[in-house]
Subunit: 211 residues, 2 copies
Amino acid sequence: MQASLEIDGGGELTERQKDVLNAALRLLVEEGDRLTMTAVARRASCSKETLYKWFGDRDGLLIATVQWQASKVRVAPVDRARIDLPSLTASLEGFASDWLSVISSETSIALNRVAIARAGSDGHGLGAIVLDNGRIALARRLKPVLEAARGKGLLAFDDAETAFRSFFGLVARDVQIRLLLGDRLKLTEAEIGRDAALATRQFLALYGGER
Amino acid sequence: MQASLEIDGGGELTERQKDVLNAALRLLVEEGDRLTMTAVARRASCSKETLYKWFGDRDGLLIATVQWQASKVRVAPVDRARIDLPSLTASLEGFASDWLSVISSETSIALNRVAIARAGSDGHGLGAIVLDNGRIALARRLKPVLEAARGKGLLAFDDAETAFRSFFGLVARDVQIRLLLGDRLKLTEAEIGRDAALATRQFLALYGGER
DNA sequence: GCCGAACCGTAACGTACGGTACGGCGGGTC
DNA sequence: GACCCGCCGTACCGTACGTTACGGTTCGGC
């Protein structure tokens, strides 16, 4: 089945279906791409027939699982009224530590691994979804903040996309690729806070206005 | 078979074996992780029996293939005598554009995809190899340059690792994760050059000494 | 010319897994 | 109570693929 390309991923799901997807998600974290339909059915205490009726095929189940996880992490848009340097700094540090927390979480690592593994062969369904709920969602939330700050003269840049990508690089650095490749790398809360503060300071040094 | 963990990956290989590994490499780029032993044998015009005799099993073949590719990209160490600001700038730009070229190449993408896909389940053999020949090799070559530049007062930092990771982030930004996830993103030579120059300028702004 | 080793091509085996079919059951409706 | 419907559990089917086995061919050494 070709799962419908709806934007929201958790809309018309019954509680039972959400339970099943949560089970699939946990299994995805534990087993990676080698989870089997049988294992999902057993873990969720449902029949394979039900899995196929609800999700069509294995691909449909994976897509629904990824969309379900994505729908759980939707965040409220940032309030960008009244922005000054301290609030901008705090906001950037918040974005940075949120992002570091996400990309170092077991769930994110597992989902990115599966999406990357399948990006080569299939019609890049999962990759687009993961990208859209990761990097792209971050950009959508951050760019208005950057542009508001530029409006107040707190930042100076020509292209918000370029500025965003610099911020992204300063924050993520090599963390995600190392974790995806299996590097043992434990990020504590304190380290995330320090790294976020450093990245923010560096970003302001590069893009801060009226120095 | 547990392939021996030798550091060099292309040492005791006959020409015929290199041909076979090159065929496997091409197939890996085309097919990703779903390459089959039959397909490799057919592409390399050899028998499966030979594949199993030489490489033990499918894992051994994949490991040998990744090591073989890694052995091909070994580069000469950088000459760090007589360093001044122009030569440092040129050197950093060289590192940056090399790295961007590597991570945007079909081969690197395919190898990273396979290594990431298997990093969750198997004994993280491939992930460690890819990491060691990617990020870690880059750090090994770049850090002496950074430290030499610090010795001349051209750069200022406490920890070479931290400085390196900032450089890494400024160069790579979101390029690698986007490509791994299947984002269509074509980097031209000119764009790589511009991005490398920008990253270098930003890195020097953050870590340049005696301003 | 003969022998053994290495190798090619292919057939065969075993298994794992995606997908389907079916019997049973509990719960809602009349 | 009779009926229906959605779902569970499980057995089953077909296939793909890793792995092994085997007959035939080439080639270097004697």
